[in-house]
Symmetry: C2
Subunit: 182 residues, 2 copies
């Protein structure tokens, strides 16, 4: 759960990072940035900020922002009905970005969110530079993390049904609850 005040502050902060990365976002679009805490209530540690440019019934193009040292939890994109599952390509734009995928443990620059060893099972580290890309097929588990600068990246994918993603952490609720400030 986040409050409307936290939501607005995070939207402004994410928009500033998007603009610092050289990309456009209009003032009207800032309020459309989705602030995702995965139901964990600790946005600074585990979360992602999502600016959706396009999301039709066939494809989606998004800009993702990670605040400094913020981690997007380990997840995968399952088959849904007739859909074979989300195929996603990420392209790094700006900042410090590490992805974790299946493979030998090479974790060095990044870190496991404290106390969460059991829900971050992948330890094969890929350090991305701006312009670097990775493609994930349906069911291919991954998680990612920003370094001290934070990070801005593209996500290009087939239709997005984030509410149906699978997560290793059973505590996660993908749809963030926003509570009016009291």
């Amino acid at each position: 759960m986040i409050t409307t005040t936290e939501q607005k502050e995070a939207q402004q902060r994410a928009a500033a990072m998007i603009r610092a990365a050289g990309l456009q976002i209009s003032d009207d679009e800032i309020k459309k940035i989705e602030i995702v805490d995965f139901g964990l209530g600790n946005l600074a540690a585990e979360g992602v900020e999502v600016f959706t440019m396009v999301n039709t019934d066939r494809l989606a193009a998004k800009i993702l922002v990670l605040f400094p040292n913020q981690t997007e939890p380990e997840h995968w994109h399952p088959k849904v009905g007739d859909d074979p599952g989300k195929q996603e390509t990420v392209r790094h734009i700006w900042g410090d970005l590490r992805f974790y995928v299946d493979g030998p443990d090479t974790l060095a620059e990044g870190f496991i969110v404290p106390g969460k060893d059991d829900v971050y099972t992948l330890r094969h580290e890929i350090i991305l530079s701006p312009g670097d890309q990775l493609t994930f097929e349906p069911y291919e588990k991954h998680w990612f993390q920003a370094g001290e600068s934070g990070a801005v990246l593209y996500s290009f994918s087939t239709t997005v049904r984030d509410g149906l993603d699978g997560f290793t952490d059973p505590e996660i609720q993908r749809i963030t609850v926003v509570k009016e400030q009291e």
Copy 2:
């Protein structure tokens, strides 16, 4: 037809515009920029420069460059086999950009390529500002043109089969022939 020299010069010029627009393209990626003259042999007037970030069997994300006063000819994306046809969203990034779609004739800032009135049938002008987007459904005809600064834009779409696009101009061949310099 273009020569390898024209191709290389156009790739460098397009990459410089992509970078000026604030986007990344690596030196290795510059040589992958597709220089398209539509078989018309007059790239400065009718053509487009295409940097493909992603093109899988399900989706494509591209950066398109138009040089100053360059025009992408009128075209549409047909149904192909079991595929319902390419759905495309463009998002303007940088420069002067006009789209022409079905509707009342409002052509004012742009121009019809000289001598080509019969193959540019759409005259409903939409002036885009950076961040503005348009979505085209399959078979929806469109053409677009840069002003004096040139233009850089995103194209997000379902799978691209450019070779199968339909064009109003019967002279057009979508696959550009590149000839070794003699």
